[in-house]
Amino acid sequence: MSDLLTLVNKPAGEHAQIQHLSGTTLPAGSGKAAFFVGTGIANLMTIPHHRGFESRTFSIYNLLIPEVEPSPQFNLYAAFSNFGYLRERLSHSSDAVKSVVEMNFNIMHGNPVFRGTRIPIYQIIEELADGTPLHELEEGYPSLSLEQIQRGLDFAASVVRIYDDQLPDR
């Protein structure tokens, strides 16, 4: 399985999660080092959401990304964001997806954007959800092509699947 992270949630109300990490390697560009976390790490958390895990993941990234502008407000925000999780997912995406999606703390505060633009992928999803036709998206966001939009949506789709290997690298 290409994804090295598994989260198991108990039914709502029990507020427990088990996280299992194995052989995790930081994505290129986030630092010059790699780290290894042995298998079998299980952690029972009482936080009723997965943000506890994200916070830990980010702390590792944060240490290895010195170019991040120091800001108390930023660090507080990032510590509770999905940045680490999404960056991990992006690192395991296909080359086609990675060629059109980037995550950079200095662009839109690290939200996944279409490469070479300041347009967040989540915003295109919201446009589509609100009924904006694809051809009008190209008019509204002239930086984007239809193919770029589709690749961005591929990435978005990948983060709402529970298994990476359901749809292997394309």
Binding site: Y77, I107, R115, E127, E136, Y141, S143
Partner: protein
Amino acid sequence: MTSFLIDENMNQKAVRTVPTQDKGFDVLFPDQGGYRGASDKAVRDIATRDHRVLVSVERDFGQFGLKPEDMPDGAIWIRPTGRISQPNVGVLFEGLCKVLVQNFRSDPYNFKGKILEVYPDRVDVRTVGGGVTSYPVPSSA
């Protein structure tokens, strides 16, 4: 003339549907200003350099606690209560222009040291020191 710098995340079609020039606003888009794909800081710097008011729908600017004093030439956050989409952004941008025209037509608006937050029903003007003044969005210009 008030000059806006439209962030790349703004739906340009929504902005272009508003007759900004008729209302006395000069609008700069990313391709014209050369800030396509620029960093957050670079966009703010370009707005400051060119004395333009940054207009963005980016939700996180507010979350990062940017204060009016961080934006010497002012900034405008478009804040849809629902999804960020062409119709919602268009309505809010038009509402912003209406508020500016109605309230500041005879007195060219000075954005220095101010952050405007545009909601469907009002525009909140935040000033250095924490003051907030709300202007309701008129039903017609």
